[in-house]
Symmetry: C2
Subunit: 464 residues, 2 copies
């Protein structure tokens, strides 16, 4: 159809699914693209800076600092429309995406599609663990855990005053499942909370005596960082009072503890009210839909084997980025999503301007980092390995660069200064809702149905 | 009983009920009292800086800034033990206080008691309004309202895209019931949100066209501030696009609107999804217990007619302070609680040291203030009346002084600088939980049971 002056050529419609690193950076990379109309659909109204989620869960940062409203971030980019809705269907033949917000259903046509729906927590087929051991994937998770972590100390104080030593022990035992970066960071922060932040706050319990157990079925801590840094991290964690138990597989989770199967096959129980699940991820179930319609293959974590230009086999108009892809063993980290989102955006721009396509997508490994405590981290950058203070300064710099917005950066820095130099945690407030959900869970066990969404989201359960 | 060297005289036991202004300032004023053992019992784990609650509800401040952990605030005061629990019973004859945290019940003996349990929202006998029109009394309320306020704009955007103009109108109409300081502040902030913060954020709706209605059954805005300031405030609100409707009594509240009876007796309906209740307060039901056991009188709001030294008639060992007292028409403001708490602490110290009692409690009116918008407030201090920018600067200074903790002050100032000079709101994140509670409430109406505690707490309902 030829264009006329009164009826200009209709713009190229790009639909982006997801407001995480992949989706947001794809949208931004299209900001100068003319004749493009972008619809960014997301099940949350915020962009989540997931690498700092553990700092919300442990009272260092407020949720607003790591989860700005997506439409605020993109407000001035006039070619983007941000839509609140959970994508339920992708139709590759009709080139439509259908999203739902309760009973409101909308369908969006696309010329190009970027799927960046990320991954949820995986309980490896044991979704019933979720209510007793929340994951670390969403703001809901982090606030739920914040309430639980500070809450068990409150309950322990009451139990100690009543002379119930056994309850005190259960309440002051924390189990973190999964010794990847998130698990290591959580265990380290819970240790700092108990050893520094809360040290003087109680009269009947000694918070510094809290047990913190970091468990993993694998034989190493931070296995992606290599032996040397894994050992450094383990050493540092042990100095902080964290018990590291490797080769320990979790086979049961209930209100008052977990069941562990050790490497030899023996079973044992750890009594603990507060459990954190930082063990596995499974890609968005949208991956399954894409695979079924395109014939693409899925790996065990539900990730799609994409072409080397991040497109879906047989569908050059559909890009998949971030945690949803299975390609050359690239790790599921923020940088993979950022680079993937930008690559997809560039590919669309080149097509529209008639340029020749880019070469295949190559993940540029900017390195991996994990903080263990204040002033101590491990970092792996290219062939270089850093640990201790140097790694921590690197961590600080890199995270400040990627936090969105000037004010968030300044405020975050201020919160960090106080949290790291002093002993206070500025964001430990629990709502009444959280306190009672928590209490009931602990006291009433399985008779209690939590009103709070804990752990995996329904749409992100392990596609067993 | 005479003391011996190995068995020193047992300390004077002070129980304080409540962690608000009254309870916290009473505890602090006893910090130098020797031979005093204080137990502060509270149903929340935080101290709430209630005058800034509206800033949490409208995304300016995080909850941590206005609700620090009570035990953190009092950590270094070694004569205080902070206990989490809701007081269910006071026994004046046995001198005991019983508190409950789910199924954990503890009883505390006292020699002196300070009751500072505050007030909850009152729906004037219509507690069923609460689920559709949350109050403004707790962190739960503020976070619930934050989710609703930002949420209706999201829903309006979807409804507008689908061409449902009628739904858009309902979603973009806000009703604030009660034209006291909290109502005025909420209406002013919702106006700023719609006119400034969200102005560029949407593509299908124009947020600046949102209707904001401030209703009161009384004939004046800010009646406690006098006619001149009330008129100034009304004028300013109208300039900001707030519709002020006086002599309008709310007789019904449901999921999609409210029923109003006007001064003439005529009924009319206002369609609005987002309603805020800032109308009435009723004192803690503990007042009723104290009255029944002591023969003291209660006023209509459930407040106790105390002696002029703030003690309960016939019980010189029991002090009642803050929102729970009815004395010489003193207003239910933070300063009354602070001064009452300090007065009670001083009285206890004087008794213990054998000094003669203080004179009767006299409330020193340091003035009242309400912000209307950035750079504009009204303030009444002694015989002086201020409005506009001067009043706003006073407001800023006074509130910074009373925020607890150096970091909170610095951070709050930074948040304010950004919110007032720019247009951003740093804390507008909604959890999935909040979004779905909200959506369901709107869509499913009365078939839906909210999982979030909305409005009045069960223990603080209007004692009809």
């Amino acid at each position: 159809m030829s264009s006329t002056t009164t009826n200009p050529r209709s713009p190229h419609r790009v639909v982006i699914i997801g407001s995480g690193f992949g989706g947001l950076f794809a949208a931004r990379a299209l900001r100068k693209a003319r004749d493009v109309k972008i619809t960014l659909v997301s099940a949350t109204t915020h962009h989540l800076f997931q690498p700092l989620l553990y700092q919300v869960a442990t009272g260092i940062l407020s949720e607003g600092l790591i989860a700005p409203a997506t439409r605020e971030v993109l407000a001035r980019q006039e070619n983007v429309e941000v839509v609140f809705g959970k994508v339920t269907d992708i139709d590759l033949a009709r080139r439509t995406v259908t999203a739902k917000a309760l009973d409101e259903t909308q369908t969006y046509d696309y010329d190009s599609l970027i799927v960046a729906a990320g991954a949820g927590q995986s309980y490896f087929g044991n979704d019933e663990f979720a209510r007793h051991a929340p994951g670390m994937k969403s703001i809901d998770d982090a606030l739920e855990l914040r309430g639980r972590i500070f809450g068990v100390f409150e309950l322990a104080e009451l139990a100690a005053a009543a002379g119930r030593a056994d309850d005190v022990r259960k309440l002051m035992t924390f189990v973190v499942v999964g010794a990847g970066p998130t698990g290591v960071e959580m265990a380290g922060q819970i240790s700092e909370l108990s050893r520094r932040t809360l040290r003087r706050d109680f009269r009947n319990i000694d918070p510094t005596s809290a047990r913190i157990i970091l468990l993993d079925a694998a034989p190493a801590v931070l296995s992606a960082f290599g032996d040397r840094l894994g050992n450094k991290a383990t050493e540092r964690l042990k100095k902080m009072g964290v018990e590291v138990e490797l080769g320990a597989k979790v086979v049961g989770v209930d209100a008052t503890g977990i069941e562990v199967e050790d490497a030899g096959g023996a079973h044992r129980r750890i009594d603990a009210i507060c459990k954190v699940w930082a063990a596995g991820v499974s890609a968005s179930p949208l991956g399954k839909q894409l695979a079924e319609q395109s014939g693409a293959q899925l790996d065990r974590a539900g990730r799609i084997k994409v072409e080397d230009d991040l497109t879906l086999p047989g569908h050059p108009e559909v890009f998949v980025v971030g945690d949803m892809i299975s390609l050359k063993d690239y790790p599921g980290v923020a940088q993979l999503a950022i680079q993937g989102g930008r690559y997809a955006a560039r590919a669309i721009r080149r097509r529209l301007s008639g340029e020749k396509p880019q070469g295949p997508f190559e993940y540029f490994d900017k390195g991996s980092m994990a903080t263990i405590s204040r002033f101590s981290a491990v970092a792996s950058i290219g062939k270089l390995r850093f640990s201790g203070f140097v790694a921590w300064v690197l961590w600080l710099g890199v995270h400040l660069v990627y936090i969105i917005g000037f004010k968030s950066r300044v405020t975050t820095l201020l919160h960090w200064a106080v949290a790291f130099l002093g002993r206070a945690r500025g964001e430990r407030t629990s709502t009444e809702q959280q306190i009672f959900a928590r209490l009931a869970l602990e006291r009433l066990g399985d008779d209690f149905t939590p009103s709070v969404n804990m752990g995996v989201r329904e749409d992100q359960r392990d596609p067993a």
